[in-house]
Each structure stands twice: as structure tokens, then as C-alpha cells.
Amino acid sequence: MIIVPTISEMIHHIKRCPPEFLAPPLLRGRGEIHTESLVNDIFRMLSGNPAAPKRIELSTEKRSKAELSLIQICCWALSHPFFRQIDSGWLNDVFWSQLAAIAALVKPELWVTDEERSEELARMILKCCGYVPAGETPEEALDRFDSVNTVKRMKVIEETRAANERAQAIRRQMAEQRAREAANVYGRE
């Protein structure tokens, strides 16, 4: 039987990320960690075949430093025993392709130091592999993920900013004499 961790357990695990996973990725001749090797090591571990040939092409030169850092943190997150119980097919298809957008919005170290970002990462990973944290219904899990989702939060901030700008534009126009003059043609009520 597959034992899914609770969200607190996943958060706790992510926050215990060793400093090695946070070391700068090797990119254009600078940095320390060969992210692609790390990813393939994790993949071999999860697939239970330690001698398998390299399976995952990361094309690191096309990715940002922040994204590679986040991939490294994910590698740590995936070291949780839970992921060895499930099929690893989802990793290549879904997971690695989704991190670019979110990585640009959050400083890498926050994923392991900030409680809310750790929760976001934990929920994002569990959602990607199709499992609901222990003790939650699918609806609760979705709802809680929405509440910590950086992309959604940024969208709300952007919408709020746009709405405020719009309100300001209308208020400025309300103060325009031109708008008041022309409004009087048939005014008598």
C-alpha cells in the first residue's frame, strides 16, 4: 500500500534540504553543481535501477539559474521515501517542464527557508505526481494549493494593480471640466 505523506511531513522534509542542493548550478562554465547529473541520479534512484543509462536531457544552457536551482531543490524533495513507492513516469513529462515560470518569481533559497514557499513546492510536486496529501480531500488540497500558489498570487496582484490604475484613470477623468461641460446638454432632473 502506498503511504502518502501529510503536507507537514513534506514541508519538514523540504526544509531539511542539505546545503549541497542549494549550491550554484553549473552554467556556462560557472557554478558548482552539475544539475543534469543530479536529476539523472534521482531518476535512477526512483526507478530502482542504479545502473541505468542517462535518461533525462535537461538542456541546461536553455534554462535560467533560478530554474536549475529549483530543479536541484526538487531533487532533494523527491528523495523522500514516498516517491520510491510510485511510478516515476510522470517526472520527465510533467515535472521538469513546469518549473520555468514559477522559478522566475521566487528566490531559490526561499523554497527551503520560507514556510509558505516550502508548502507551495510540496503541494506542487504532489499535484504533479497525482497524489493528494494524507488527511486532505482532493478539493481541500486544490484549495490550499491555490492559496499558496505564487503564479495565482502574482496574477491577483497584477489584476489589482490594473484595477487600481483603471479607477485612477476614471477618477482623473471625473475631475475634467471637459467631461462636466458636455454632460449638461439635456440635464434637468
Binding site: 484595477a163 483603471r166 479607477a167 484613470a169 476614471i170 477618477r171 482623473r172 477623468q173 471625473m174 475631475a175 475634467e176 471640466q177 471637459r178 467631461a179 462636466r180 461641460e181 458636455a182 454632460a183 449638461n184 446638454v185 439635456y186 440635464g187 434637468r188 432632473e189
Partner: protein, 451 residues
């Protein structure tokens, strides 16, 4: 309150009218009043096409049947929820939507502007608050010009048609106030016809006979005014030949209607309208207001809860719809009360209240229009007030608001009603009770004034 000032050139006011000769003629006429303002409809060809479209639709549209909702309602509500910030959080289902009060709009007009609107197209009208606290109402040139389309619809029901065209004054808005904005304008929709707004107050004219002379010379097709203004006009007895008189702002009673109809030999219409949505209904006889716009859905709501009352039951009139994208209304409580009945398949408002004419009399016996009182009190930030006049002409005034003193109010009343006016004044700070924010009452009746 921000007083409007003339801020546009004539070519900005009338982008589609090349020859402004008639406008100059109306302004420079030797008997013309001393116009204090300028205003134009600002219709471009695109906007004029929209007004014409509205006119075509208005002619074809049918009223909803008894017990049903209009066909256009679902699409309108969907559009509101998608594009109007204040309605974005509304759940679908018209009857579940909350009603809307004037105060909600007055405190955040920008929340009711559709995202589709261009801010530059916005027009702002400040209502003096003859029945509620002063408020800025936002709209655009198209919904403003639609007022004429609505007027045409009323007249068309009796086979009356506005001729319009250059050289003809189609509409004259007549006021009888201490002061008001006056101007000569043109209507692009009526093909360059003249529009006048004049004040009967002798102080507005160079010579006493000019007012009658000017009206006779330009002989407007339609005159609009309130009952008191029409009474004052009737007493001046100009030899004019209007196709119709259109009264608004307060109830027109049958006695005056008959007098006006026989003197000016034309039908006299009493319009129920609000600045927030313009014309709603018309009465050809006392007490029955026929709805005139299938694009405005009217409900009667319970005064204290969002519950629709049965046909014939009396409650607060609420409006949904309209063509103003700067203020689309969903279940807007008008503050007026009445009941709705279908007479011959046409929805009609009966027992409409809140519009009773109020007779206020100055120390020297002159009639005072309550609009002048509202306007004069606009200089203070009052949340609301009530004014009652006793038969001995003393005034009883109660106001809710701060930063206003008894002396301020006395000064205003002395100017309006004469220095000898006696008034009892109560200023109550904040905490205004629910209900109409501005109330006028008087122990004088129409017969005291309409001799």
C-alpha cells in the same frame, strides 16, 4: 461639488456639424437671454450610428410579458459580471443578485464603469440632489443623446414627430430658478436642430419682454420643465405652438395639466425619470405611468429585503439595464415607491410617490423651487436634510452632517426666502437614519401658489 464651466470649443461640441450658423443665430439673437454656459452632444459618426441603432432597436423592442423577465436580461447580466468591477463577484441568477443603493454608487462610481469603456468618452453630471444627496453620475455621449430617442418614443405613441433639421428649435428646456446653467446648443441626432436651455427668471434677460419674444420667435417643437415652471410660463402667455409639453421632476396634477393643454393646445406628458437612467415612464393622465423602455427592466422590491413583490403590491421601484456602459444598473433601488401592473400587456407604475410637488414660499409670497434650496445647500457637506414649511411661512430644518453651523444655514435661507424668514434649525452630526436623504414638505398646497 464641482461646478461645470464651459471648457470645449464649438467644433469639439459638434464634431459632425460643419455649419454652426444657426447656433450663432440662437446665441446672438437680440432677444436672447444672457446665456452663461455652452454645451454640445459631442457625437462623432461612430457614436451617432450607435444612437441611430438604439433608435431602431427601441422601435422594434417589445416589453416583457407579465410574470416573465426580458429576453435581453441573461446576456446583459453576463456582460456586467464579465466587464464591470462592482459586479464581478456576483453569482449568476438574477433573483439571487443583491439590490443596489444610490450610496453604493455615489461612493465608488468607477467600480460601475465597464472595462469596455474608454475613459475619454466619459461625461460627468452632478445631480443637485433634489430627492437625494448630490452625486456624480457618469455616462457617455450615446446614452445622453438616447434621451431624445426616448422622448421621440413617447411622442410617437401619439403620432407626434420631431421635425428637427437646421433652423428649427426642437427642444427647449425651461427652468424657473434663481440660477441655473443656460445655453443654446444643437442636436446632431436631430440633424442640427436647436436645443435651448433657458431660465424664466427676469434676471437672465436683458429686457423684461425678451423671454416671450425669444420663445415666440423660435417656437420650440417641445418644451420640457417642471410643473411650477410651466405654470410660470403659462402666466407669461407666449404665443407659441409646441407639439407637446413634457413635465418631469415632480408629479403633474390634472388641474395644471388641463390648463396647460388647453392654453398651449397640445398634449402634456408627465415623465418619471432619474439622472441615473434617464426616462422610465410617462403619464398622460394622473396616477398611471406607462413604462416606455423595454431596455429597462422594472421590479418592485420589498423596502427592507431583496424580495420581489407580487404584481400590484406596493414597494420600492428597482431598475435593471439601460444603455449606459458607464453605469449599467442591476436591481438599482430608486428610492421611489409604487406598484407595477400590466394594463393591456403594457407594464405601468401606479401610486408613484416621492415626487409630490412641494410648495415653498418666500417671505414676500414668491414661490421657491426646492431645486434652488438643494443647490444652495450643496456648498455644505450634508449627508442629508429635511425642510418643512409651516403655513405661517416659518421653516423647520434638520440636517445630518459636519462642518456646518446654524449661522451658515440662516445665511442661505435669508438669501433664498428673504431676510425676515423665521427658521428653526437642528444640526445633528453623523448618524443619518435610513430612507430618503433629502426631504421637503410644506403646509402650502398647489392652490396657494397656482392661483
Amino acid at each position: 461639488m464641482m461646478k461645470p464651466v464651459a471648457a470645449l470649443s464649438d467644433s469639439e461640441r459638434f464634431p459632425l456639424i460643419d455649419d454652426l450658423g444657426f447656433l450663432k443665430e440662437l446665441r446672438q439673437d437680440s432677444s436672447a437671454p444672457m446665456f452663461n454656459f455652452g454645451s454640445g452632444d459631442r457625437l462623432t459618426s461612430e457614436k451617432l450610428a450607435q444612437v441611430n441603432d438604439y433608435a431602431t432597436r427601441a422601435r422594434a423592442q417589445q416589453f416583457w410579458q407579465k410574470g416573465t423577465q426580458p429576453d435581453w436580461l441573461p446576456a446583459f447580466l453576463e456582460w456586467c459580471r464579465a466587464t464591470v468591477p462592482a459586479y464581478r463577484s456576483y453569482q449568476p441568477g438574477f433573483l439571487q443578485m443583491p439590490s443596489l443603493r444610490r450610496e453604493q454608487i455615489a461612493s465608488a462610481q468607477w467600480q460601475y464603469v465597464s472595462d469596455e469603456c474608454i475613459a475619454d468618452d466619459m461625461l460627468v453630471y452632478n445631480t443637485s440632489g433634489s430627492t437625494g444627496a448630490a452625486m456624480d453620475v457618469l455616462f457617455d455621449a450615446v446614452s445622453q443623446a438616447a434621451w431624445i430617442v426616448q422622448l421621440e418614443a413617447i411622442l410617437a405613441a401619439d403620432g407626434i414627430r420631431l421635425e428637427g433639421g437646421p433652423g428649427r428649435v426642437s427642444i427647449c428646456l425651461v427652468c424657473n430658478q434663481e440660477s441655473t446653467l443656460t445655453y443654446a446648443s444643437l442636436s446632431t441626432y436631430l440633424r442640427g436642430a436647436g436645443i435651448l436651455k433657458i431660465n424664466l427668471n427676469p434676471a437672465d434677460w436683458r429686457e423684461p419682454q425678451d423671454c416671450v419674444c425669444y420663445l415666440e420667435k423660435h417656437d420650440p417643437e417641445v418644451l420640457t420643465g417642471d410643473p411650477f415652471t410651466f405654470l410660470a410660463l403659462a402666466e407669461k402667455a407666449p404665443a407659441i405652438h409646441p407639439k407637446a409639453l413634457v413635465s418631469s421632476a415632480m408629479t403633474l396634477h390634472d388641474g395644471l395639466r388641463q390648463r396647460l393643454a388647453s392654453q398651449f393646445k397640445c398634449p402634456v406628458y408627465d415623465i418619471y425619470s432619474l439622472t441615473e437612467c434617464r426616462m422610465i415612464a410617462v403619464a398622460r393622465e394622473s396616477g398611471v405611468y406607462r413604462l416606455i423602455r423595454p431596455d429597462l427592466y422594472v421590479e418592485i422590491l420589498h423596502p427592507d429585503k431583496d424580495e420581489v413583490l407580487r404584481e400590484g403590491e406596493r414597494g420600492e421601484i428597482a431598475i435593471t439595464g439601460g444603455i449606459n456602459p458607464f453605469l449599467p444598473l442591476i436591481r438599482y433601488r430608486t428610492g421611489d415607491y409604487g406598484c407595477l401592473r400590466h394594463d393591456n400587456d403594457l407594464p405601468c407604475l401606479h401610486d408613484l410617490s416621492g415626487r409630490a410637488p412641494v410648495m415653498l414660499v418666500a417671505a414676500d409670497g414668491r414661490f421657491i423651487n426646492n431645486v434652488d434650496v438643494s443647490r444652495a445647500l450643496c456648498e455644505f457637506a450634508l449627508a442629508g436634510f429635511s425642510l418643512h414649511q409651516r403655513k405661517d411661512r416659518t421653516l423647520e430644518f434638520a440636517a445630518w452632517g459636519e462642518d456646518v453651523s446654524e449661522a451658515d444655514i440662516r445665511r442661505v435661507f435669508a438669501k433664498l426666502f428673504g431676510p425676515s424668514v423665521v427658521c428653526k434649525i437642528e444640526i445633528m452630526g453623523a448618524g443619518m437614519p435610513e430612507g430618503k436623504k433629502v426631504q421637503y414638505s410644506s403646509e402650502f398646497s398647489e392652490t396657494d401658489v397656482c392661483r
